[in-house]
C-alpha cells in the first residue's frame, strides 16, 4: 500500500516537473519579431521525409535542401531582413515542437484543420490544395463522395485534414509516409486513398494500377506561428502578401509545377478570406468517455499484438537455441545467422520489409504482419536467453542423465530444458515488458495501438498532457504487475541457487 503511494507521488512529481518545463518553454520575454530580428535568423520546422516537392535533399548534392517551401522560407526571410534556417523535426510532432520553442514557425504542408486552428496561429496561406480520392483502376465501386465511402478502407496520413474528413464515415487506415498508402492500395490492402492532390500527383498518379476518382474538398497550407507571437504572424502575412503581389509566389509554385487556377486567390487574399479559412473558433473537446474507450481498445490491441508475438517468439526462440547448441554444424550456423541478422537490424526495418517489401509475393494483413514481425524479432532475443539458460545448466546434470541411459534428446527434454526455462522466466518476463512498449512500432504498418491512439487523440483534444498521462497509465498498468512477478521469481530462483550452492 505504501509502495503504491510512493509511486503515485513520484508520478505526480514527474508530471508537475514536466508541466513546469512546458510553461518555461512557453514564456518568451521578447516579442517574436524582435527576437528574430535580434538573432538575424528565422528558424522554421519541417520534415524532409515528406519529400518532394516540400522540403527535400537535392539529389545532386544531398546536403543542400530544395523544395518550394525552401524558396518561400527564403523569400519571407528576405522580406523580414533575416536569414532562414531549417530545423528537421518529425512531422507528427511539428506543432508540439513549435510550442516547446524548437523553432519560430512551422511550414511543411501543414493543412489548416479545425484541431490545429485551436492550437496555433495560422498566417495567410501559401498554397491551395484539394483532397484527391484515388482507387485502383477499374474499381467502379468507389465514387467521389464522402458518404459513399462508408465501410471502405481508405488510406491517409495520420492527423491530416483527410483523416478528419474520413473519420466517422470510412474506415481510415493511417500511415506515416506518403509512398506507403499508394503501395497498399496497389496491393489491395485498402480500397482507396484520400490525400492532398500534391501528394497524389507525385506518389499515386504515376502508378498505372491506380486512377483518380475525384476531388472532395479544398484546403490550404499555411504557416503556423505560436499564438504568443502575433506580431511575427502579422509580419509574415505582410511578407507573403508582398511576395504574392510581385509574382514571386507564382514563380516559386510554377517551378514546382504547383501553379493552377486555384492558386490565383492567394494573391488577392483578404481578411474575410482568412476568417473563412479559419472557420468559427471552437474550444477543444474535453477528454470524454469515447476517448477512454478508444484508449482501452488501443491498449487491447497492444496487449493482443504483444501476447501473440511472444507466443510466437518463445517456441521459435527455443528451436533456434536448440539448433544452435545441438543442431549440428549446418543448423547451428543458420540459427546463428538468424539471431545475428534479427538482432543486428532495426525492428522497424524488419516490419517494413515484411509488410511492404514482401507484399508482391505475400499479402499479410497489418495485424498478422505486426505479430509475425515482432515475434520473429523477439525470437532472436529469446534464443539468446534460452541459450544462456541451457549453458548455465551444470554439465553434471547432463552426464547424470546420460549415465542413466537417456538419449541426448531425452536428457534435453526432461533435464536440461526444464531447468533452463525456469531460470529464463524472469528474463522472458522482462522481455515481454519491453515488447509491450516496442509494440508501438507497429503503427508504421497501420496498426492503431495504444501510442498511435494517443497521438491521434492528442490532436483531437489539442493537448498532449491528458492523453499522454492516460496512455502512460495504461502502459504502466500492463507492465508494472509483470515487473513485480519477474522480480519475485528472480528472488525465488536466487534463493534456490544459494541453497544449491550451500549443499
Amino acid at each position: 500500500m505504501t509502495r503504491c503511494r510512493v509511486l503515485f507521488l513520484a508520478l505526480v512529481v514527474a508530471v508537475v516537473g514536466l508541466l513546469g518545463l512546458v510553461a518555461c518553454g512557453r514564456t518568451t520575454p521578447v516579442s517574436g519579431l524582435a527576437r528574430i530580428r535580434a538573432a538575424g535568423v528565422i528558424k522554421w520546422g519541417g520534415d524532409i521525409q515528406g519529400g518532394e516537392p516540400y522540403v527535400y535533399g537535392d539529389p545532386k548534392s544531398p546536403d543542400r535542401l530544395i523544395g518550394f517551401e525552401v524558396e518561400i522560407a527564403d523569400a519571407i526571410a528576405r522580406e523580414l531582413g533575416v536569414r532562414a534556417e531549417f530545423v528537421q523535426n518529425d512531422w507528427a510532432n511539428l506543432v508540439p515542437s513549435l510550442e516547446r520553442g524548437s523553432f519560430d514557425i512551422v511550414m511543411n504542408g501543414l493543412e489548416v484543420t479545425e484541431a490545429r486552428v485551436g492550437r496555433v496561429r495560422f498566417t495567410r496561406p501559401y498554397c491551395v490544395f484539394t483532397e484527391r480520392l484515388m482507387a485502383r483502376a477499374g474499381n467502379a465501386s468507389i465514387a467521389p463522395d464522402l458518404l459513399a465511402l462508408r465501410g471502405k478502407k481508405v488510406g491517409t496520413l495520420a492527423n491530416s485534414l483527410a483523416f478528419e474528413m474520413l473519420r466517422g464515415t470510412a474506415t481510415p487506415v493511417v500511415y506515416d509516409g506518403v509512398e506507403e498508402p499508394y503501395l497498399d492500395l496497389v496491393n489491395g490492402r485498402t480500397d482507396a486513398v484520400l490525400l492532398d492532390d500534391i501528394i497524389a500527383t507525385r506518389y499515386g498518379a504515376p502508378r498505372p494500377e491506380l486512377q483518380v476518382v475525384g476531388d472532395l474538398r479544398e484546403g490550404y497550407y499555411a504557416i503556423a506561428v505560436r499564438p504568443s507571437d502575433p506580431d511575427l504572424a502579422a509580419a509574415i502575412d505582410d511578407a507573403i502578401g508582398a511576395i504574392a503581389a510581385r509574382g514571386e509566389l507564382r514563380r516559386i509554385l510554377e517551378r514546382s509545377h504547383l501553379w493552377n487556377d486555384r492558386q490565383d486567390r492567394l494573391i488577392g487574399w483578404t481578411a474575410a478570406d482568412q476568417t473563412r479559412m479559419l472557420g468559427a473558433p471552437r474550444s477543444p473537446p474535453p477528454i470524454e468517455r469515447g476517448h477512454v474507450m478508444l484508449f482501452l481498445r488501443g491498449a487491447g490491441v497492444t496487449l493482443l499484438v504483444s501476447t501473440l508475438a511472444m507466443a510466437l517468439a518463445i517456441p521459435l526462440g527455443l528451436l533456434l537455441s536448440l539448433a544452435r547448441l545441438h543442431g549440428g554444424p549446418v543448423l547451428a550456423r543458420l540459427a546463428g545467422a538468424y539471431v545475428e541478422i534479427y538482432r543486428g537490424t532495426p525492428v522497424l526495418l524488419q516490419l517494413y520489409l515484411l509488410y511492404y517489401g514482401l507484399a508482391p509475393v505475400l499479402k499479410l494483413g497489418a495485424l498478422p504482419a505486426a505479430v509475425i514481425g515482432l515475434g520473429m524479432n523477439y525470437a532472436a532475443y529469446e534464443a539468446e536467453v534460452y541459450r544462456a539458460g541451457i549453458q548455465a545448466v551444470p554439465k553434471a546434470q547432463i552426464e547424470s542423465a546420460l549415465a542413466l541411459g537417456m538419449s541426448t534428446r531425452l536428457a534435453l527434454r526432461r533435464v536440461v530444458l526444464p531447468q533452463a526455462l525456469r531460470h529464463a522466466i524472469p528474463n522472458v518476463t522482462n522481455d515481454f515488458i519491453a515488447l509491450l512498449k516496442d509494440s508501438s512500432l507497429v503503427s508504421v504498418i497501420t496498426v492503431v495501438e495504444l501510442t498511435k491512439q494517443m497521438t491521434i487523440t492528442a490532436v483531437d483534444v489539442r493537448s498532449w498532457i491528458g492523453p499522454g498521462l492516460l496512455c502512460a497509465g495504461l502502459y504502466f498498468a500492463m507492465s508494472y504487475p509483470l515487473g513485480r512477478i519477474a522480480r519475485r521469481l528472480e528472488k525465488k530462483l536466487e534463493g534456490e541457487r544459494e541453497a544449491e550452492a550451500a549443499t
Binding site: A396, Q397, E399, S400, A401, L402, A403, L404, G405, M406, S407, L410, R414, V415, P418, Q419, R422, E496, A499, E500, A502, T503
Partner: protein, 233 residues
C-alpha cells in the same frame, strides 16, 4: 563381467590411460585406488561411455566398445553406449541429482522414461529404494534441501532403480563429513552383502578393507598393483 583391454586415452598430448587392462568379476566389489591424477575417474568414465578412448577395447557383459576419434558417437555406437549404461549404473562424487525434481522423482525418472515402466509401478519401487538407503521420510525433498550424505544415498537409489548389472561409484564418500560417510558406507556394505557387482573409486583405506574383494592401483595411467585389498594397500 567387465573387461578393460589395453585401453589408451590422452587429453591433447597428455596420456591419462596408458595401456590399462583389468577384469571386474560379477558379484565382486572392486576398489580402484591410487594417487590423484592417476586416471581412476577417467577409466570409470570410459567404461560408462561418458569419455571415449583412443585405443584398446572395453567389454561390458558382451557389449563391446572400441576406440573413437570424435566425441560424437556414430549411430551404432550410440546404441551400444546406451545398452552399456543400462548395465553399468554410475554414481558421481558430486551426486548430480536433478535439481528440479524431488528425491522420489529423481529415482522414478529413468525407469519411466528410459525403461517405459508404468509411473505407478516406478513410484512404488522408488519408495522401496529410498527406504532401502534409509530415506523413507525424505521422498518429497528437493536436492537443495538434502544434506550431502542424503543426496548421495538418493543418487545410489536412482542408479539402483534401473536394475544395473554393476554399479560404478566415483569417490562416493569423499565430499562428505565422517558422519555422512558412515551412512553411505553402510548402504554400500549392504549392497555388497547382497552380491552386487561394484567398482568403487576411493581414497579411503577403510572403505577398501571393509567392502572390497579386490583392489587395483592406478598410477600415471598404468596398473601398478592388483590383488586382494591388503596386498594392494
Amino acid at each position: 563381467m567387465i573387461v578393460v583391454d589395453n585401453v589408451e586415452k590422452a587429453f591433447e598430448s597428455r596420456v591419462v590411460l596408458d595401456g590399462v587392462s583389468v577384469r571386474f568379476d560379477r558379484g565382486k566389489v572392486s576398489a580402484l585406488v591410487g594417487p590423484s591424477g592417476g586416471g581412476k575417474s577417467t577409466l570409470l568414465r570410459c567404461i560408462n561411455g561418458l569419455e571415449r578412448f583412443d585405443a584398446g577395447r572395453i567389454e561390458v557383459d558382451g557389449l563391446v566398445l572400441g576406440p573413437s576419434k570424435t566425441d560424437r558417437p556414430s549411430r551404432a555406437d550410440r546404441a551400444t553406449l546406451r545398452a552399456i549404461r543400462l548395465k553399468a549404473g554410475m554414481v558421481f562424487q558430486h551426486y548430480g541429482l536433478f535439481s528440479h525434481m524431488s528425491a522420489l522423482e529423481n529415482v522414478m525418472e529413468a525407469p519411466i522414461h528410459v525403461r517405459g515402466v508404468a509411473p505407478a509401478v516406478a513410484r512404488e519401487r522408488a519408495k522401496l529404494l529410498l527406504a532401502q538407503v534409509g530415506l523413507p521420510h525424505r521422498r518429497n525433498a528437493f536436492p537443495r534441501e538434502l544434506s550431502g550424505g542424503e543426496q548421495q544415498r538418493v543418487a545410489i537409489a536412482r542408479a539402483l532403480a534401473m536394475d544395473p548389472e554393476a554399479l560404478l561409484l566415483d569417490e562416493p564418500t569423499s565430499a562428505l563429513d565422517p558422519e555422512r560417510k558412515a551412512e553411505v558406507v553402510g548402504v554400500l556394505r549392504d549392497l555388497a552383502k547382497q552380491g552386487a557387482t561394484m567398482i568403487i573409486v576411493t581414497h579411503e583405506a577403510a572403505v577398501v578393507r571393509e567392502i572390497a574383494d579386490h583392489a587395483i592401483c592406478l598410477r600415471d595411467g598404468k596398473v601398478v598393483a592388483a590383488g586382494s585389498p591388503s596386498e594392494v594397500l
